[in-house]
């Protein structure tokens, strides 16, 4: 079905060969600019130490080795708090933070976009404006709040602020505005569906690309979080923080440090690939007609 429609789409619209070539050319140039430094990151991680400090430096690796990764894992084993604990902390806060945010933000975004109620306008305005206020100066007030709530030195201090971040609500609201068809909602309401049910069963599937996107960047933000000023117990600290501590050992640890960059990227990239291929899959069937 999806393929049939794509093919039809191609037949109907004229696509000049020159335009296709131009697009490929521009994408190739920009892609090289994006990709070559990334390739260098990968190369560095599999270079043995003598190649890392070779003169003149070479872009390509000559004798690829997993030495750096083994080094990194050995260093991890020497840590005082078991490394699995840091990994658990980060996985737990990333997953809980992302899904809580997705649920709360999309629920609120649905109401703001699709139910006309007094106050919706300025609530959305406030969220939008908050994106432009710097977080450094609000740190003092946030710290006092965290301590009053008893969140200091708990997972809550990481997870709850993630739940109410402004970005997700803004994104979901923008997509609900365009991609959710009012007439479909109206007929669902006439059929007696509650707003909660309309939101979950009808609106959410229509904005699937939006919430898959939200999952990507919310997860990635939490995954890459370093030391937090709200957390002081060693056993509650994040993976990124811990890996930063062990690779900060100067020249001798350059290899382990190069490997750690790759390790840190693996999980967000996996999340990205899974979500992104889902976004593109939904595309064929999302063209809904009324």
């Amino acid at each position: 079905m999806a393929r049939l429609r794509t093919r039809k789409h191609k037949v109907v619209l004229a696509r000049s060969a020159g335009g296709d070539a131009g697009i490929t050319f521009v994408l190739a140039i920009l892609g090289a600019f994006m990709f070559l430094p990334m390739l260098y990151v990968l190369m560095q991680s599999v270079k043995p130490l003598d190649e890392l400090w070779m003169y003149p430096p070479r872009f390509y690796v000559m004798h690829p080795t997993l030495e750096n990764f083994i080094d990194l894992f050995n260093l991890m084993n020497t840590s005082w708090v078991p490394f699995s604990r840091y990994i658990f902390n980060t996985v737990f806060t990333s997953v809980a933070g992302t899904f809580g945010h997705l649920f709360l933000a999309s629920l609120a975004a649905y109401a703001l976009a699709k139910i006309k109620f007094p106050g919706a306008g300025w609530m959305f305005q406030a969220v939008q404006l908050s994106l432009m206020f710097n977080a450094t100066v609000t740190a003092t007030a946030s710290f006092i709040l965290m301590s009053a709530l008893g969140f200091l030195d708990t997972y809550w201090a990481i997870i709850v602020p993630a739940w109410c971040s402004s970005l997700g609500l803004y994104l979901m609201k923008q997509f609900m505005d365009t991609n959710v068809n009012d007439s479909v909602l109206e007929s669902a309401r006439l059929d007696g569906a509650s707003e909660l049910k309309t939101y979950w069963v009808i609106a959410m599937p229509m904005v699937k690309p939006a919430w898959l996107t939200l999952i990507i960047y919310s997860f990635q933000g939490l995954w890459n979080a370093g030391a937090s000023m709200y957390i002081h117990s060693e056993q509650l600290k994040s993976f990124n923080y811990a890996i930063g501590q062990i690779t900060a050992g100067g020249i001798a640890r350059a290899g382990a440090s190069a490997a750690s960059t790759v390790i840190m990227m693996m999980v967000p990239i996996t999340v990205f690939v899974v979500s992104q291929s889902n976004i593109i899959e939904t595309m064929g069937s999302s063209g809904m007609k009324d």
């Binding site: 521009v26 710097n134 100066v137 109410c164 994104l171 939101y199 999302s286």
Partner: protein
Amino acid sequence: MSKKTATKKAGTRKDLTKTQWILKEMVRNKVAYFMVAPYMILFAMFTVMPVILSIVVSFTDFNLLEWPNFVFLDNYISLFFDDDIFLIACKNTLIFAIIVGPVSYLMSFLVAWFINELPPRIRALVTLVFYAPSIGGNVYLIWGTLFAADSYGWANATLLKLGIITKEIAFFKDEKWVMPLCIIVALWISLGTSFLAFIAGLQGIDRAQFEAGAVDGIKNRWQELYYITLPNMKPQLMFGAVMAITGAFGFGGVVDALCGFPSVNYAAHTIMHHLNDYGGMRFEMGYSSAIAVILFVIMVGANSLVKRMLSKVGT
């Protein structure tokens, strides 16, 4: 009789005052308040309250140690009249924003649109190539390795070998190089959130519209972009603009990591750095809050300007 009720429903309700009408609407839509409540309560606590508090603090001399005194506009006055470095920071921030903002915005949209023209099979992979620099938390540090100050850096080694230079350039410690390089790195990591929103937005456009457009005589993809794609993408374009503005004016973290703080002769010192300097290191909260308020006003101004420009899109 029926006609009378109809006009009564549709027209202005003369039997109700405005407050009564709002109250009635609030009761009628009470489910909406339950839906926004969990998010909005947390948002008010963790975002709105701290922001309002900071705005109040910007009119005081709060330094975390002593009880704050009201100084009214003193912080703002000294920022503009006694603080030369702040003016340098403003200048640098504007340069960054004027280059990085529009370029990253246009690049995000064009690349997203080009990718959308590719066969579906390879789209996810190509998207990954462009998005990858934004995924890793500090993968941009690779630019520090590529442009290292000694001859072990790839850029220096290459330039030396080609005989273009005879002595290594300390790229991130040289006033001439700091700004251009930081702009390049900023652009390298700029295909982020808004790029993904554009990709997702393009997927969501109703296919039937393109078919109808073709029937109506749209000839090529540029017309299709202008008449169908752009008008359908307005909310995403607005989202992307806000991301570009906050990203471009709030730029600073990359400079810290690559050039150290402060950058050589404040060559890449931005408002963001100035703010972190006073707020994060000197604990002059009043002063740094005033900087945040100024940055906020600048961003809101830029945002309304962009909004006005975007409202003309596809009309």
